[in-house]
């Protein structure tokens, strides 16, 4: 993919490193609100991309470049500080109590009691075809790589958790049918709406709040010290999928969109009702059984998913309510 347009000094430094220049000394300083910072989120997204598709013309060895890894760790510290602050009330409400419910029940309650914004009701009842296409563009940052980040966590999970992860991942990758890989179903849905399904094609149009959705997945899955947070995040992600997918599917039907859009969404209604049980009960509980101290990270991960998705949905809804595009650049041309 091509190197994105920088949004500030940090992403400019990463972009120049991708073009073979030395990474300059950077004074990151103390950032407030790193989760919503355009420069920070784009810089992190580019560094994480080196573990996936990389960039046209960029040296493959940059994946493990010491300067980029050091910058990533520095930016991750800021993101984690912001996450800990924003998730504190959600995590607090889900901590164990004497004789209280078990971990899986507390995680489901955390998700069900979180009062967050989501775009699915808007998609169901009000979205235009153009807004639906914008929704697909936002989700493409992860859905074209569905489950790939979480797979990085698998070797670091305890054995019992790996069994459930393997069942889940088998499903995500098509359950033995290559044409049913979820990432491919999403690419088909994009194509059906006249969108470019190449990973990264729309990155210049995506705000920091959308980039953060996939950046926190990579933050948790790539670092062994945060692997328990990856499990919690994955569970909350799956546990907030069936209902919203059902609503969005209704919206696709209302708009008369190509059946491939509903196919992707309907698959997730059914699959994620299985996956939420597998991750919360079999993965998260096994992680904490193997290391009781990791429970705090499981809760942090789950709360992060809720808070980050809420932060991503709010500006999208605000833009749509006022008749504006939710994208940074008018990147979407919808085929009619």
């Amino acid at each position: 993919m091509k190197i994105p347009t920088p949004r500030g000094p940090l992403s400019a430094a990463v972009a120049s490193a991708l073009r073979g220049k030395d990474l300059p000394a950077l004074d990151v300083g103390t950032l407030r609100g790193a989760l919503g910072d355009e420069d920070v989120q784009l810089a992190l997204w580019m560094i994480y991309q080196l573990h996936y598709d990389g960039f046209a013309g960029a040296d493959l060895a940059l994946e493990w470049d010491a300067g980029l890894i050091a910058l990533r760790r520095r930016l991750e510290d800021e993101v984690l500080a912001d996450l800990r602050e924003r998730t504190a009330p959600v995590v607090e409400g889900a901590r164990a109590t004497d004789d209280g419910p078990g971990l899986a029940e507390r995680l489901f309650t955390m998700v069900d009691s979180f009062d967050g914004a989501g775009t699915s009701s808007y998609l169901q009842r009000r979205a235009t075809t153009e807004q639906f296409a914008e929704h697909l563009v936002h989700r493409s940052i992860y859905n074209l790589r569905e489950t790939d980040p979480q797979v990085f966590a698998m070797p670091r999970l305890p054995g019992r958790a790996q069994v459930a992860m393997a069942e889940l991942v088998y499903d995500e990758y098509g359950a033995g049918r290559p044409e049913r890989r979820h990432s491919l179903l999403f690419a088909d849905a994009m194509e059906a709406c006249g969108l470019d399904p190449t990973p990264g094609a729309y990155v210049d149009a995506l705000p920091a709040t959308t980039l953060a959705i996939v950046n926190v997945m990579n933050l948790f899955a790539l670092r062994r010290d945060l692997v328990a947070a990856s499990a919690g995040h994955y569970g909350a992600f799956e546990a907030t999928s069936s209902g919203p997918s059902q609503k969005a599917s209704g919206g696709a039907e209302r708009l008369g969109l190509d059946p491939r859009v509903r196919d992707y969404l309907d698959e997730h209604v059914e699959a994620d009702a299985v996956h939420e049980q597998l991750v919360f009960r079999d993965v998260c509980e096994a992680v904490v059984a193997a290391d009781p101290a990791s429970e705090e990270l499981v809760l942090l991960g789950a709360a992060t998913c809720l808070v980050v998705e809420d932060a991503a949905a709010l500006p999208v809804l605000a833009a749509w309510e006022s008749g504006r595009s939710s994208l940074l650049a008018p990147a979407v041309q919808v085929a009619s």
Partner: protein
């Protein structure tokens, strides 16, 4: 509801569906066979699913309603 398969294992989820492994098809109460296409399926136990016999997460609506009631008290 009847589950057909050679090595069927059923795990009930508290307040949730049955997780069924090793099934080839699930017969609903009208005798209609639903083929199983994934390694683990979640079979509805609350009868509120819109995709019977499969769970679609609707059982959690009652949990959400209870949480909302408690929040208002």
């Amino acid at each position: 509801m009847t589950v057909r398969g050679n090595d069927v294992r059923v795990t009930p989820c508290p307040d949730g569906p049955l997780l069924v492994r090793g099934a080839e098809e699930v017969l609903d109460d009208d005798g209609v066979a639903h083929p199983v296409t994934r390694a683990v399926v979640a079979v509805c136990r609350c009868d509120m699913s819109q995709r019977m016999p499969w769970c679609d997460g609707t059982h959690r609506a009652s949990a959400r309603a209870r949480i909302n009631r408690e929040a208002k008290q």
